[in-house]
Amino acid sequence: MSPIINLLIFGGLAVAMLIMSVMAITTKSLLRSATYLLLTLICTAGFYLFLNYHFLAAVQVSVYAGGVVVLFVFAIFLTTKKDEVLVKHEYRRYVYGALIALVGIGLVAYTILKTKFIYAANPSMEGDAQLSMADIGTALMGTGKYQFLLPFEMLSLLLLAAIVGGILIARKDKKHGEKEESQY
């Protein structure tokens, strides 16, 4: 692709992503908020495609769009009543939030723009330079240098703990068990 088209696509994705993020935190309906979060995450998957990490984009879409956002939607259905006004106007909180955000953006943007990054000689952004699944699998399942079996196993333990914890927390209470069934 030509550089200008690349830049246009990148700019479109970035603008869409930022608008969706702002909508996700400003809209009053929680369900809309979750939908905008989903769109933000899909735009992020577009970023990963742009960076030539195809596997990462697939993981992003399947885990976030397939897992996290669905969890959010279920939780919103289970906890939100009708006609609930979620954002009350508390201006002090808005002022503090905007102040912290603006100061933070200024500080971090200044640091980023001031830093001289040493680019790699060939970032391999173009064409078929993407990682092969065989390489990813080997790196994920090996115990050698630059291989990731230990974090992988730790992650499986963490997910087990999350499953057990989720069931333990959200199950119905035995003493006053008149509520409905557990959700997960």
């Binding site: 996700a24 935190i25 933000t40 959010f72 979620l86 680019y119 992650l155």
Partner: protein, 102 residues
């Protein structure tokens, strides 16, 4: 040519949009959504640094994958806590959640 700084600026903006939402929203689920935005911005940074500065290695990509998985686990537990809090106090507004024990 898209530079690394563009990715970093976009993810910075997204990070602080998430921070703003984290501070201003009242509903626990909305706070969790803001947290997702923050984590997502961080993961963009991992991938962009990996691709631009060390393209022959895969650490950034794997940290992004592990980050996504940890985020999923964290969201599941947090939503379980929120549902439990809803059962106890009948609302998910953080101002109503003044007692943390059952």
């Amino acid at each position: 040519m898209i530079k690394l700084e563009y990715y970093l600026i976009v993810s910075t903006l997204m990070f602080f949009i998430g921070i703003f939402g984290f501070i201003t929203r009242k509903s626990m689920i909305a706070i969790l959504i803001s947290l997702e935005l923050v984590l997502n911005a961080v993961e963009i940074n991992f991938a962009a640094f990996n691709r631009y500065l060390f393209p022959e290695q895969m650490e950034g990509m794997f940290f992004t994958i592990f980050g996504i998985a940890i985020t999923a686990a964290e969201t599941a537990v947090a939503l379980a806590i929120i549902i439990n809090a809803y059962r106890l106090i009948g609302d998910i507004n953080i101002n109503d959640a003044t007692k943390m024990k059952g």
